[in-house]
């Protein structure tokens, strides 16, 4: 199982997902109404490293993080 975290203003609790890569996770998250609207705006990190690779493999214990738009300072 992969743990999925939603940071900052998304305001959702972490979920566990049984997916083998980010593409499968994308398909899963698009089915969740409260997450779908955020997907366009969010960057994705696997184990705290931002990734741009939708094919990225996930293994059990991996942590995927959704990062909405930021503004520090």
């Amino acid at each position: 199982m992969v743990q999925v975290e939603f940071l900052g203003p998304i305001g959702l609790k972490p979920i566990e997902a049984d997916v083998a890569n980010l593409k499968e996770l994308s398909q899963l998250l698009k089915k969740k109404k409260e997450v779908k609207a955020w997907l366009e705006n969010c960057a994705v990190a696997v184990n705290d490293e931002i990734t741009k690779d939708i094919e990225k493999e996930l293994k059990s214990g991996d942590k995927v993080t959704l990062l909405p738009p930021v503004c520090g300072g």
């Binding site: 996770l25 997907l39 300072g73």
Partner: protein, 145 residues
């Protein structure tokens, strides 16, 4: 050196701490940036969420770059509420070369605004509202859309 505070930043205290680390090898140029909560959109203040492990990773890339250039990097940020006129963000570059210090500060602050994992909320009428319109999509956003 990066530190996250659960309160508004005390500029004097923090800069004194940073300066203390320069005693052995005083650098020629010290450029600092201070972010003060300003009046806009009738807010009473701002509030910040921070993902600290990823902030540290973001910081470490810049920290290595400045170290490779014989320079030092310092950063501090508040999490939680910071009210009008208070300080939420400080950062400084100490370098033997003023061009390096000035240019690094410039590009670093822009990269910080664009990519550091920090979320900003307006405090207004007792509510905490995500400041989406003033936030920036991180490079690579939309991967799962």
């Amino acid at each position: 050196m990066i530190k996250v505070y659960k309160r508004p930043l005390n500029k004097e205290e923090i800069e004194r701490e940073w300066f203390a680390t320069l005693t052995e090898n005083r650098n020629g140029a010290f450029v600092s940036f201070t972010g003060i909560i300003k009046e806009e959109h009738k807010i009473e203040g701002l509030s910040f969420d921070i993902h600290e492990p990823m902030l540290k990773k973001w910081f470490n890339v810049w920290d290595s770059y400045t170290k490779d250039n014989n320079s030092k990097l310092f950063m501090a940020h508040s999490k939680g509420d910071v009210m009008l006129g208070e300080i939420s963000f400080m950062c400084a570059v100490a370098s033997p070369k003023r061009r390096f210090a000035l240019e690094t500060m410039d590009t670093l602050v822009e990269d910080f605004k664009a990519n550091a994992p920090i979320w900003k909320y307006d405090l207004k009428n007792g509510e905490r509202a995500f400041a989406l319109a003033r936030s920036h999509k991180i490079d690579g956003s939309g991967l799962l859309a």
